[in-house]
Every structure is written in structure tokens, then in C-alpha cells.
């Protein structure tokens, strides 16, 4: 290291030092000492700057005057500089003693941190799995909330201007269900048991009707939930679902609920079998009178009806159908398919787009009534509105 010092004095002192070092006796000359010679422990402590401050002045004075002790000190200092690890350790001991680790820093010590991170990982994995499982069954949940009240003898009628197609009744009226082959097939699977019973014996129907009390109530409850969320669509035309304009009022407000209800009742009656029509009234009350023709068998078929009800409930959850504007829609995944659709090419339109606004008002109403993507046949043309 370059020093800006007096070179002449430096030269003189070096010359003097060389002369002193050459003579061992001169080097270890001991002048007037006021303090005793320090022992190795004190010299070592001084060399490491570990002596208490109060003791340092006396030691400095001794080392300045005692060549022997100063030489020992300089040797120790030189040797220590070659192996500083121990001295660093001494400093670390001092620092460790002075500064204890605070409680909030101990938390981040390696073992605690590892356990904490492991626990967090487990928690997040569980949350992700739970969310994934929950989201992977949306259809089941949606079907549950919109469960169609199953009624073997009739249609469940809602007061929101739309008719939910009752699967069990669908196949009984082929005229209105001619455009819903898929609905028919679904209905067939679910209502075979009931139809078979109803065709041969009115008792099962009545029994089913009686047994469906709770189901209807349930359906009504779920319908009530969804009623407020659904746009009101006008009741469909009684005969043709392709002509929703005939008498349909798509924008029927809620204030016309009673009129719509009457219309729906008529529609349901027209679309259902005779056996269903007897139970198609809006209030399929628990005390709905069973068919007169089969009072005797109702009690004995109760267990069977319960089983059928459960089966229908399960089926309902799987396949959902709705009738809006006289058109029957079946839900497949997230898409509502018009019963009249048979796979032809579609015109894709997005809700809110210019093309959508150019559509017929009734068609737009149907699109607004159903959420998600719908495939609808309108004036012999297939549209995919999403």
C-alpha cells in the first residue's frame, strides 16, 4: 500500500531497524518497565484485540518498552494473520452473545420454515383438488337446481311462461313431440316403466302421481328458485312449436303470470295424454285426487312408485328439456338443441352482435330465455346462437 509519508525518515528508520535487528541483544533490550511481563494468555488476548479496554493502556506501554514481549506479540499477530478463522470465530461469539435472535426470526429458521412450507403445500394441494372436484360436476349441480318435477300423468307447469317438458308425458303426444325425437327417446327410457303402467293400468299413473307429491314439491321449489332468474317467455302455441308467433307472447311480463299459467295449463293438457292431463293443473297438490279408476291399487304400488320416482329423478338430472316459444329444447352438455334440429349446418351468431340484432324478435327472445349456446331451427334455417 502506497503511503504518503516522509521517505527520508522512513529510510532512516529502516536503516536503524536493520541495525537493531542484526543485534539480538539490542532487539530484546528491556527498558524501564512498570508492569510485569504478560503471560501467553494475555499476549494472545491482546493480539486478538480481546482484552478489556481498561487493561489495554498498561499492556501497550509494556509492549512499547519490552522488546521480548513485543517480539512474541508480533509473532502471534503474524501467525494469526495466516489463520484468521479462529479470530473470526471469536468475533462471531461476541456478536452472537450481543444479538440474540428475535422470536419472529426464529420462525424462519431452517427446520421451522421447512415444516411450514410443507404444511402450506399440503393445504394448497387440498384446496386445488377440492376446487377441481367441485367444478368437474357442474351438470349434476345445474340439473339438480333445475330439476324437472317428474309426473307420470302430466306436465309440471311453471308460472314463468315456459313449459318444462315432462319426459314421461312426451311420448304420449306424438303430435307435439314430433320434433323432439331425442326427447322422446330420453323420455322413453325414463318413462317406460310409467308408460307401461299407465297404458295398461291407470293405477300406476295415479300412484306415481301420488308418489310424486314430494317430487313435485321439490321440483316446484327448485323451479321457484329459477323462476326469478329466467327471462319470461310466452307460452308456446298449443299445436305447433314451429310457429311460436301464433299467440305466443315472448315478452310476457310477470304481471301476466296468471294468464300465462292458464295458457300453459291448456298447452300442457294438449300435449299430454289423457292420464297426464288429469294431473296437469298448476297445483299438483299433494292432495291431488288420484284417478278414479285406480284407487284400490294406489296403496299397494306405493313402494314401486317411490322407486320409480327416484329413478326418474336421477334421469331428470341427466337430461334436461325445456319448451320455449313452442319449441322444445334439449340440453346436451352446455348446448340447448332444438328438437327439430337434425344435424344440418348452422349459422353461427353471437349474442349482442349486429347479426343477432337483425334476427327475428321472437328468435331473440328464445335466445335470451336460454343461457349458453342454443341450436334452434327458425324458419327452416338452423342457427347456433352463443
Amino acid at each position: 500500500m502506497e503511503l504518503d509519508f516522509d521517505k527520508e525518515m522512513d529510510a532512516l528508520l529502516r536503516e536503524t531497524a536493520q541495525g537493531e535487528t542484526a543485534s539480538a541483544n539490542g532487539e530484546f533490550k528491556i527498558e524501564n518497565l512498570k508492569s510485569p511481563h504478560p503471560d501467553a494468555d494475555e499476549i494472545a488476548a491482546f493480539a486478538e484485540n480481546a482484552l478489556p479496554e481498561k487493561m489495554k493502556p498498561s499492556f501497550i506501554e509494556h509492549f512499547a518498552d519490552c522488546g521480548r514481549c513485543r517480539r512474541i506479540l508480533s509473532n502471534v499477530v503474524a501467525l494469526n494473520s495466516e489463520t484468521p478463522a479462529e479470530i473470526v470465530r471469536t468475533e462471531e461469539i461476541k456478536r452472537a452473545v450481543v444479538a440474540p435472535i428475535p422470536w419472529y426470526r426464529r420462525f424462519f429458521a431452517a427446520p421451522s420454515l421447512a415444516y411450514a412450507m410443507g404444511a402450506l403445500l399440503l393445504i394448497f394441494t387440498g384446496l386445488i383438488a377440492f376446487t377441481f372436484i367441485k367444478n368437474s360436476a357442474p351438470d349434476a349441480e345445474i340439473a339438480e337446481t333445475r330439476e324437472v318435477p317428474v309426473n307420470a300423468g302430466g306436465g309440471g307447469v311453471s308460472s314463468d311462461g315456459e313449459t318444462r317438458e315432462i319426459e314421461s308425458t312426451a311420448p304420449s303426444n306424438s303430435a307435439t313431440m314430433s320434433n323432439a325425437p331425442s326427447v322422446q327417446s330420453n323420455a322413453m327410457t325414463t318413462t317406460n316403466s310409467t308408460r307401461a303402467a299407465s297404458s295398461t293400468n291407470a293405477a300406476p299413473l295415479s300412484n306415481a302421481a301420488a308418489a310424486n307429491e314430494s317430487n313435485l314439491n321439490k321440483g316446484k321449489a327448485t323451479e321457484d328458485k329459477t323462476q326469478n332468474n329466467l327471462p319470461i317467455a310466452a307460452p308456446p302455441a298449443p299445436q305447433s312449436s314451429d310457429n311460436p308467433a301464433s299467440g305466443a307472447n315472448f315478452a310476457a311480463p310477470k304481471s301476466k303470470e296468471s294468464d300465462a299459467e292458464e295458457t300453459r295449463t291448456r298447452d300442457v293438457v294438449s300435449n299430454t295424454s289423457d292420464q297426464a292431463s288429469s294431473n296437469s293443473t298448476r297445483a299438483p297438490k299433494p292432495s291431488a285426487p288420484p284417478a278414479k279408476s285406480a284407487p284400490a291399487t294406489s296403496r299397494s304400488a306405493a313402494p314401486d312408485a317411490i322407486a320409480k320416482r327416484n329413478a326418474r329423478a336421477m334421469e331428470t338430472q341427466k337430461t334436461e328439456t325445456r319448451t320455449i316459444g313452442g319449441k322444445n329444447f334439449r340440453r346436451d352438455g352446455s348446448v340447448w338443441y332444438d328438437a327439430a334440429y337434425s344435424g344440418q349446418s348452422t349459422t353461427n351468431i353471437t349474442r349482442g352482435s349486429k347479426e343477432f340484432k337483425k334476427l327475428d324478435a321472437n328468435l331473440r327472445s328464445i335466445a335470451d330465455a336460454l343461457s349458453g349456446t342454443i341450436v334452434v331451427i327458425w324458419k327452416e334455417r338452423a342457427y347456433r346462437i352463443q
Binding site: M1, A11, D41, E48, N49, E61, R71, N75
Partner: protein, 322 residues
């Protein structure tokens, strides 16, 4: 015998010793009672000697700064713990041997020195209580064990060297005397004996050197203790400023500034002594200092030239020219 201050704070000292034991990574199954005597002695040596009425906070700080592992190791060795001795030899034999090699001229002397150290550490004599008198009892734990061992080696080496150097000095003096007499008796060497033609110049040169030497010594003795120590450590012991600063507790830059101030103080002091006590003029002082510096430079130049010549000669020998 424990001092009054130690007696007064005994319970707190024991708490501090308990903390010391807990600090050690290997306490070697030592208890408070095993360490109490040593720690109390250290407190008396380092704290109470300077201030008998030192507050307990100072005592506590002192105990908390002791090297716990080293102290536990040494005390376990004193209790003849074999494992402790194994660890001591395994971990510190290198330190002792390395220090011994630096203190000695050759490897044989270094081995002898190292063996002597271990013998003193182990202890060869017994005291009145029958305990082995070992140098380990002098270790307080204030500094590191390695530093203490280096100090022990250095102390033993220097004390041994001093004994030998006195012996050698006498022999050398006799040898020089014999040579001088031989030269005087042989007429062929008369010219060598009387080499200098002008005795007055010789006397003047010798007197000048003596005056300067006296002035320097006097100036050094008038320095403050710390400055004197720094100057001697730097010029006489050839220590680096960094190491001087580390030992005295300041930075290397501070040590550098101190050296510059010391030189300035020395110059003023030397000039004053030469002018005031030896009758020199200011110009003489200035000339002598300049000459001293140039002599050193010339000396260095000569050394460099000699080195170059030696290297050339070696090359020529190697090439087969010479």
C-alpha cells in the same frame, strides 16, 4: 481466593457460567462447578485487576465473551478426559507444528519445539495436591485456544533463542578478535588492516552516525506508548499495517495515518535533538537525511544490479559459454 466482588455476585456468575456451558457446541458433560474456579480467576485477572469495583454488567459481558468450546475442551483435558485430549491433539497439533516451524531455523528444531510444547501442555510435574502441573491451567478462554498456543510456542522459542543467542554472541566476538589479531600479525594483510587512508573522515563519519543513532533512539523514547509500539511493530518487526490495526483495534487506514504522523513527529524530534544537543546546523541535518535516503536508494540499485549480473552469469553457465 475469590475477591469480594466475585463473592458478592456468585449466583449471577454461576448463571453466566450456565449460559457459557449452553453456548458450547460440546460442553463435554462439564458442570458449573467444573468451570467456576477458572472463570472466577479470569474475572479477577482481566476485570477486577483494572477496577476492583467493576459493575456486574461488565463481569457478565466478560463471561459471555469467553470462548466456550475452547474453555470446555481445556478444562476437560485437565480432568483427564481422554476424548478431550484426542480432540485437542487432533485439532491443534497442526497449529503447534506450524508455529514451531515459523519460529525455528530448521525442521529438526521445529519438531523439538513442538514436542516441548506438548510436554508442557500435558504436564510432567505434580503440584502439592498431586495434580499435574500443566500449562493448560493458564488458559483463561478470553482469546482463542489457537492464538494462545501460538503465543506459548513463540514465547518458548524466543526465550530459548535468547539463551542461545547470548552463547553465540560470545563465540562470534572471540572469533572476530582472533581474525583481527591474525590480520595484524601477517604483514601481507597490513594494507587490509589499514585500508582507510583518512582517519579523520572515518572518525567524522562514525561520529555522525552515532549522533543520528542517538537522536533517533531519543526521539523514539519520547513518543507516546501507542505510537512507539506502532513504530516498532512496523519498522522493527516488519508487521503489516493491517495486522497492526487488527491487534490494536483500528482500521488499516487509521494505522497508515498514524504512521505518517509518527514520522512527522520523529523528524521534528530528530532535528531538534541534532541541532540542540549535538550542535548540527539545519543544512547539515537536511543533507544527512537526504544522504540517508539516497544511500538506501543506492543500496537498492546496487542490489538490483548485482541480481542482474548474477542472473546473466547463470544463463551463460547454462548455455555453456562460460
Amino acid at each position: 481466593m475469590s475477591s469480594a466482588a466475585v463473592e458478592k455476585n456468585r449466583s449471577q456468575i454461576e448463571e453466566a457460567i450456565a449460559r457459557l456451558i449452553s453456548r458450547a457446541s460440546d460442553s463435554r458433560r462439564l458442570e458449573i462447578a467444573d468451570l467456576r474456579e477458572r472463570v472466577e480467576k479470569s474475572i479477577e485477572k482481566y476485570v477486577l485487576r483494572a477496577d476492583e469495583n467493576a459493575p456486574f454488567a461488565e463481569i457478565k459481558e466478560f463471561v459471555d465473551a469467553l470462548c466456550a468450546d475452547d474453555l470446555c475442551l481445556i478444562i476437560a483435558c485437565e480432568k483427564n478426559d481422554e476424548k478431550a485430549w484426542e480432540d485437542l491433539v487432533k485439532n491443534y497439533d497442526g497449529t503447534v507444528k506450524s508455529a514451531a516451524r515459523k519460529m525455528s531455523n530448521n525442521s529438526e528444531d521445529a519438531e523439538d519445539l513442538a514436542s516441548s510444547i506438548w510436554a508442557e501442555l500435558y504436564g510432567l510435574k505434580h503440584d502439592k495436591d498431586g495434580k499435574l502441573k500443566t500449562k493448560l491451567s493458564y488458559y483463561s478462554g478470553r482469546g482463542s485456544l489457537g492464538g494462545w498456543l501460538r503465543a506459548v510456542v513463540s514465547q518458548l522459542a524466543i526465550d530459548g533463542f535468547r539463551k542461545e543467542s547470548k552463547f553465540v554472541q560470545i563465540e562470534e566476538a572471540r572469533e572476530f578478535e582472533r581474525l583481527a589479531n591474525d590480520s595484524a600479525e601477517h604483514t601481507d594483510n597490513a594494507a587490509i588492516v589499514h585500508a582507510t587512508a583518512n582517519p579523520e573522515e572515518n572518525f567524522s563519519a562514525r561520529q555522525t552516525e552515532k549522533d543520528v543513532s542517538d537522536a533517533l533512539r531519543s526521539a523514539i523514547s519520547r513518543l507516546e506508548a501507542e505510537n512507539k509500539l506502532i513504530l516498532k511493530l512496523y519498522y522493527f518487526d516488519d508487521l503489516k499495517l493491517k495486522d497492526i490495526g487488527a491487534a490494536l483495534g483500528f482500521h488499516e487506514a487509521t494505522a497508515s495515518r498514524k504512521i505518517v504522523r509518527i514520522q512527522s513527529e520523529m523528524r521534528k524530534s530528530v532535528e531538534k535533538i541534532l541541532i540542540g544537543e549535538h550542535g548540527w546546523t539545519r543544512e547539515e541535518v537536511k543533507r544527512h537525511l537526504t544522504d540517508a535516503a539516497s544511500k538506501l536508494d543506492v543500496g537498492l540499485e546496487k542490489m538490483f544490479a548485482l541480481f542482474v549480473v548474477a542472473a546473466l552469469v547463470q544463463e551463460l553457465f547454462g548455455a555453456g559459454v562460460l
